[in-house]
Symmetry: C2
Subunit: 672 residues, 2 copies
Amino acid sequence: MAYPQTSFPHTTFPSTSTFISRRRAIVHTTTLPHQLNILKSTGRYSAFKLQFHPSYADKPDVWPVPNHLFWDSDVAKWIEGACYFLQREASPLLEGAVRELVAMIRDAQQADGYLNIHFTVVEPGKRFTNLRDLHELYNAGHLIEAALAHRQCYGDEGDGEGLMEPVLKYVDLLCATFGPAPEQKHGYPGHPEIELALLRLYGETRDPKHLTLAEYFIAERGNPTGQDGRHYYDVEAEARGEREHERPVYFPKSRSYWYQQAHEPIVDQQTIEGHSVRAMYLLTAVADLVRIEGPSSARSADRTKALQRLWRNMTEKKMYLTGGIGAQKQWEGFGIDYFLPSGTDEGGCYAETCAAIGVMMLAERLLQLDLNGKYADVMELCFYNAVMTGMASNGKQFTYVNQLASSDSDLSRRAEWFTCACCPPNVTRLLGYIGGYLWSFRTDENEKSVAVDIHMYSSATLSIPVGDSLVEIEQSSNWPWEGKIEFTIRNPTDVATSIKLRIPGWAATWQISPDLANAHADKGYISLPPEWLKTNTKFHLEIPLAARFISPHPYTNQNIVALARGPIVYCIEDFDNAWVDDHFKNLVLDPACRVTESTISTPEVGESYIGLTAHNAASHMVINDQLPPHMRVESNSPTQKPGIEQLHFIPYALRDNRGGKGHMRVGMRRKQ
Amino acid sequence: MAYPQTSFPHTTFPSTSTFISRRRAIVHTTTLPHQLNILKSTGRYSAFKLQFHPSYADKPDVWPVPNHLFWDSDVAKWIEGACYFLQREASPLLEGAVRELVAMIRDAQQADGYLNIHFTVVEPGKRFTNLRDLHELYNAGHLIEAALAHRQCYGDEGDGEGLMEPVLKYVDLLCATFGPAPEQKHGYPGHPEIELALLRLYGETRDPKHLTLAEYFIAERGNPTGQDGRHYYDVEAEARGEREHERPVYFPKSRSYWYQQAHEPIVDQQTIEGHSVRAMYLLTAVADLVRIEGPSSARSADRTKALQRLWRNMTEKKMYLTGGIGAQKQWEGFGIDYFLPSGTDEGGCYAETCAAIGVMMLAERLLQLDLNGKYADVMELCFYNAVMTGMASNGKQFTYVNQLASSDSDLSRRAEWFTCACCPPNVTRLLGYIGGYLWSFRTDENEKSVAVDIHMYSSATLSIPVGDSLVEIEQSSNWPWEGKIEFTIRNPTDVATSIKLRIPGWAATWQISPDLANAHADKGYISLPPEWLKTNTKFHLEIPLAARFISPHPYTNQNIVALARGPIVYCIEDFDNAWVDDHFKNLVLDPACRVTESTISTPEVGESYIGLTAHNAASHMVINDQLPPHMRVESNSPTQKPGIEQLHFIPYALRDNRGGKGHMRVGMRRKQ
């Protein structure tokens, strides 16, 4: 199974409550209906009726992108997320809405297959004239993903009912419009998304033109001479009558095409640049393409090198402790190497929720190409921190930006919705298919064998049909709070099952029981062979979880330490440390201190979690603000006020659920 | 005497060589002729002949500013600098060039008084249509300053020979063009300069319209409703047919008028923002205006508050250890509070030479309003570090940007000249009148008294006529290398002379001899009363100079230490520390080490200086670059390689005079 979106139905979550199943339940019972209400109240729900909405006349917040330009994708992502949940459990409310939305989308399709709200209602003559800025193909990509989820949930519906039929017709139009032929446009989307959607579609349809168009968009991207001997975006801008120095808000300079990862072909890019969500969606598609075309071709080899190079650049030099990416607000993306300030008052910290979801997508695809724990480590880090911090425990509030430290101008707060509302439904759909991230598997019907790679731990059961047989692998744990995972294998005697179990990179020790001779982790995974599994149908893995101090690379100039435990990164909030009045900016922490843990249950957090307390570890720096710039080191060195006996930490993902002033910090100044 | 430009002729430098007199001699003998050759070879010298130069057709490096737009000011600043030196010593070469240039400028004047190269030759119909970007009034300001220097040097020449006559005619046109009357333009220059020039002109002419226009430019600046109920720059841009999102390269967003300090009236500005040279020139004029109008008026009180607020914000939160200002390359100016990276690879370090010259100008004006050593400390810091680093010891090479650490993309190097060549002639003219910065004085002819404030030390003599008498104050020292300054006062018995001697803020101790009872520094100055000076016509001040470690504010996240001695800030270069291959990025320094000093004479440096050596103080950090972002603090903490026995330091101002690879750093990572 190539995608978590298609493999997740093999995973069931038990009624016993875990972090993941609780979050899924919230999304099903609360978030989806809540977001449906917002779609309705904001005008999105009925936008495919193609009536002019008053907000269409609003001046764009981010010129030249109309505020409503993403409405197609907001609806599509909600449908996609709803279908993942509907596939497991009925809900008349959600089902009715999906049915009505699909009908509206079908009716909105133009005679030639075109399907887009803005370019039908507001600027009907301007289709495909601004691929660089206007998200037309991005919206198309999300319609494809919605159609795939819808068909997976409802199967091939009759004529006039499904979403796949109009989407395929739209894709036909796109395949005719874009490509290398002289009469075709040699363009590609400013915001990648359709590439990964077309590749997933190709996986279902096996229609070669779906693969061809995806490959074209990826290979053509950044071609300096693609259209009439010039960069496509230059030619397109000139045709629109745009002037050389007329710049989108997110372009620091003219022709900042690195924003869209279109400054040069992807295989030539040496560092990861620009808008972080776009980068992740693009690289996810590139990894898919390598898998589909096979890793041995010359162009796959170049693409694989680019993927590894850009992954390393990102994770080693441009990723926050939480797994968040993107420091720069202006272009919602990457700064220079090691530019990772903690918050607005230090120069920015963006770490968009969607970008972290994109890292998970990319990591999962890379695991398919190369089973290496380093990808799974980052995937899990993102999930439990940079992504899960994006939703409140009540399922009704979300973040777009996930800074590591608050400031007076940017408190630690979530919001109900955003003008550009990409993140909330992205969390929704992710939790819909999260089961597909826990593990991946391959079956061989001839050999009657199953190979399962287990990437993330929770309580869940994986059911794999092999011919007439069914292999079931059950894991049971209170992960991420407890490190003991119990496994039960229900394996028909005629099937040879092998398992690879991930040992996280942060794990200092681990133990498997019953004992497995010569057990060792190879690139982060232990191999459990069929023979051992036959005799050990019940076993457990124990990974001791203990608080540890973590810190970013010294080149970041962030002389900070943070607390982590297992995959969870912690923060401090004013709720537990009420004396704070400076966002903990002057707090100094000694990583040699004693840290204790305790299980904390408060209804607001929605999760019984392990809280941490650092004892006699923290003090306050007192700085003389009025010193001139060239004073001696002694006078410019801070003194420390008497320490704080107890400093209380809460998982970063669970921040801002209990009220308070909005003061929060992940990394504290390290005691010298 | 209100200006160092007018008071400097009272100062003579002895033939004994000091840092300042050597630099002045280089400028006189080498720099001025050298820059004259460059003016000629680049086309600037004959540009006032109003012929079209091929380079006028070049595409601007910084849109929308034509590369040649500053040529008027390059010529004017050279004339100004040459005149300061010619006032002290004849030079047929320089005199001939000044005469020819003045004749060309006179001939270039249009019938109505207009006087500008670009808007006469290239865009004759577009005068005063883009005050925001096109430096028209900036150039006018430099012509005024050149005319003042020229008249001071040559006196009122006959008809048809001087520079003041055409300049006054041009100023008449400006006074008619700009102002509050309905038919006048309610605009003000994008780059301040004419304000301070008009105020200096007013000091000579006492023509009220010169004061009025300067006051208008300052008070009107940033008015949100100044022209037809809108911001002047908006109305002006619209009239040019500029589109809303057509942005100059230096505007990160549309309407980034903070770049020009025109986002709000100066009295409302809470923090110092934007282009650092513009900010300094503007505030210098504001301080002048307060002095001229008297500090007690309501508007002077508001302006004084703004000056103090912005000075504090700058020196406490936005100034480098060297006195440099401006971290951001895009707008050549200030970042957010405490954003002070050392070099390009950390996010930028601009510290333009002209900006530091501007800090000196502002500091000198503020000293006139309030004799406080904190202004003089920064003035001297800037001079010996951020400004003097701008010129090579050979007088032929200059810097524009003065980073505190080199990197592979920005080596520590000077250049002969720049397309926008503001800095080289700015250093030239500063050294022409530097005598005026050493001290300031006030005479009272009725009381027959003289009051002298001594701000900077060197070897020099100040001659002050009081009626028919002449007071002479001679200081003799090898400052900044030695801390003993000997004073000789030649004071006629009928004149009461009082002196205030500055004690630098960094001085740990000091001693005056013969002993002065109850001597103490009040706001950084010791008072020497007339009675004491009568009996102590020879005395000396001793300020022990010893190496000390300095560091920036902890909020800068620059966990670094640097070495200073007296007013001199040091750096390390690969020339003395040849093993370096990483720009000293991984060097760790222990400020508890032993530092020794030695006098070093090498012909290339042009200056016998005190070099410093840190013993067994430095080691190399070894970092594992391949760690994921969430590793434990121990694995992410650097280890240290065996130390370096001797680390050699050279004054930052004297860097890059001896060849080498261009690796340099001021602040080293501080040992934890």
